[in-house]
């Protein structure tokens, strides 16, 4: 390491120590759960305004680094922020017993704002939080912290956002040594590398899907529009983005029809929420999915491929596929299922790795499908169109962290 780099590292480590010390100090003057909830409610109310300068600054930076359109980012962030209403925050605050701890939060960068649920429930629960984001995109948390400090300096003092790269293991180790617990969102392999004395809550690799089970679905168009939105937001990069859509279909062809309608919905949405440039690897992955579907169709396997010329969206109707992973970027598979047992079989490849499912089901079958989803480890079931807006009390990753911070009175 060069002398300059060593010096920089020492300064950053010193700054991190100071930041941690400051946050430790803030624990002794915790202003109370209700005040934290109130201040957060005010901050989120500001952030729901698309013209807020901090929001514009954050989104502009994310757009510059990711290539995502500002329109898509705005829609995505609106969906993310939707659950953080004043009512929800204060309701949570009224029920918990606070515990004063220092928490470290290691946030991912591919999904803007991911980790917000964990951060918010922690702050209300009496946690002072140090949030680590990546080097090149300061993202939402820096700007949100700024808003919070403007609204309430004392509550804002409970939150510090720092930036360093994952290569700075010294700084990661320092965080892990000094914090009472760590929340980390990342790939399973990265999470496995975390260590130290702090309790670690890892939110690793997960995927989501959707299920439509209606006896005679007369509202396919609106369902498709809602699911198209779920697919499109965050460019299908997060753990809440659906990869595979299942349609209960006893032979009437409704799954096949749904794939076609979904393709139309994605196409319509693409005109409004423009997409990004694809990396070579992503484009090649989507090309692979398309060609596999195309040739299975030509080979008489009953597959149908719906696609656009610019590779903005892809829908594969596959009559027999088990849960298929998508490379993201609006690429989904649609498969019919006969019944709950068939559905369970088709979820088998990702059992225990599922996060959320959009569910549109007739009353008589809903309970059965909910059982199947619970058995597969799904933590959030919602109506189509709401996948990116899990409630404040979402038991992300199974709920261990929520239980940890929100000991109810």
């Amino acid at each position: 390491m060069s002398e300059a780099a060593q010096l920089t590292g020492a300064v950053e480590a010193a700054q991190l120590r100071e930041t941690i010390a400051r946050l430790r100090q803030s624990l002794v003057s915790f202003p109370g759960a209700m005040r934290v909830a109130d201040s957060l409610g005010s901050a989120f109310a500001r952030w729901r305004e698309r013209t807020l300068p901090e929001r514009r600054a954050a989104l502009a930076r994310i757009a510059a680094s990711s290539g995502w359109s500002l329109g898509l980012l705005d829609e995505s962030i609106d969906a993310l922020l939707a659950p953080f209403t004043r009512d929800a925050l204060e309701s949570f605050a009224s029920k918990i017993t606070t515990r004063h701890r220092l928490g470290g939060f290691i946030m991912p960068a591919n999904v803007a704002g991911a980790g917000m649920h964990e951060l918010v429930v922690a702050l209300i629960s009496g946690v002072s939080a140090i949030v680590k984001t990546s080097n090149r995109a300061r993202g939402i948390f820096h700007e949100f912290a700024h808003t919070l400090r403007e609204i309430d300096l004392r509550v804002g003092g409970m939150l510090e956002v720092v930036t360093f790269s994952r290569e700075r293991r010294d700084l990661s180790d320092l965080m892990q040594r000094e914090c009472d617990f760590i929340v980390a969102l990342g790939e399973d392999a990265s999470l496995a590398s975390l260590g130290g004395p702090a309790r670690i809550f890892g939110f690793g690799s997960r995927v989501s899907g959707a299920l439509i089970s209606l006896t005679a679905p007369s509202n396919l168009t609106s369902l498709a529009a809602a699911i198209a939105l779920d697919v499109t937001l965050f460019e299908q990069q997060g753990c809440l983005s659906p990869h595979h859509i299942f349609v209960e279909d006893t032979g009437g062809g409704s799954a096949r029809e749904f794939a076609l309608v979904l393709a139309g919905a994605l196409d319509s949405l693409a005109a409004v929420l423009t997409t990004t440039k694809l990396s070579l690897h992503t484009a090649a992955s989507i090309r692979r999915i398309r060609e596999r579907a195309r040739w299975r169709e030509i080979g008489g396997r009953g597959v149908e491929l719906h696609e656009d010329a610019a590779m903005v969206w892809t829908v594969v109707f596959d009559p027999s596929a088990r849960f298929m992973l998508s490379p993201g970027h609006r690429c989904v598979t649609v498969t019919p299922i006969r019944d709950p047992a068939d559905f369970e079989l088709k979820l088998a490849p990702v059992k225990g790795r599922l996060e959320a499912f959009a569910l549109a089901a007739a009353r008589h079958s809903r309970a059965i499908y909910l059982d199947v989803l619970a058995g597969a480890g799904v933590t959030y079931v919602c109506d189509p169109g709401s996948m990116q807006s899990p409630p404040l009390m979402w038991p992300h990753g199974g709920g261990a962290f929520l239980d940890f911070v929100s000991t109810h009175s």
């Binding site: 995109a137 690799s205 990069q237 990396s279 070579l280 090649a284 030509i298 610019a310």
Partner: protein
Amino acid sequence: MRKQSQHPIYAEVLSFIRAPHTEKFEALALDVFRFQLENIAAYREYCRRIGADEKKITRIEDIPPISTLAFKYARLEGVEEIAGGKTFLTSGTTIGSDERGTHIVTRPEIYRASAIAHLRRMLFPDAMRVRTLAMHPTAERMPESSLSQMISWCIEEFGVGPCVCVADRRGVDSAAALDFLKAAERKSVPVCILGTTASLGALFIHMEAREVCLKLAKTSRIMDTGGAKGQASPLDADAVCANAAKFLGIDEALVINEYGMTELCSQLYDATAFNSGDDAPPSNRIKLAPPWMRAAAIDPVTLKPVAPGEIGMLRFFDLANVGSVSAILTEDFGIVSNAGDRIRIMGRAGIAELRGCALAIEEFEAAEIGRVK
């Protein structure tokens, strides 16, 4: 319709392979394309589905390539079964593959001519015939393997004296390989070792464990293929050459990596000081295509060539594939020279992996390098 077996296009392709005239390549390629379009229903259907208009296809880059995946799901040989045709299956080891691809080569003599001519240029430019050690099953042991077929043809054409195959479906007998090599060393006769990179890796491990290092005769050579596929401890090109020098005494210029696949009847080989005057280090070598094959790096979105010097997915037009489909889109990345004959292989496209809110921004931005739109 004229019977395929009598169609003059086969003779024209064979003639080109025997005496290539680069200036005639594109015209012949277009003839081959039209022949294939007429005779292969699945290819015709593919072109129809993607809206390719035969009348507008006047340049080689306009010819629609089919994905290598097509060989898994559709019949891509001509309408007429040809007696004496050979059926080759893909290995099925590609990540995520659920079926093995089938390439029916209706005119094996063209396949053989292609394989031998380019082997002669790239692995035997000195016109030697040598003792050969096959570390992959030969054709009689694994008839569905195109690599096995190529090895058998190589032995037939360039082998002399005792030629041994030490591999079967169960694996490689490294001890037998070492015995063969020791005998060659004792007699100071050169050998040619043909096999997968993984089989070579196993041999090196075997020799290291026994603390054996040989000094094979000076013109001994190696052709390895397959790269890291199937290796417990993957050997990169530098490591293959270093180990070949250490354990076998073979000069790195005579360690030549092959790039080939069941779906293509022609192969590419490392350009080295031995066969071309190129002397790039092993990890930075380019591969040379034969004159009857042309490569392009293409944009996976548009399927059009990327700008010169940019990385794209590799597409080949292989005249030797005349009996099936010649325009093939691989899943490999690379950079291709303007003439389409010099290719730097840059790895393979991945498949979707389970992930959540996971990528760090550094990875995210790294993934954006080499954007294609």
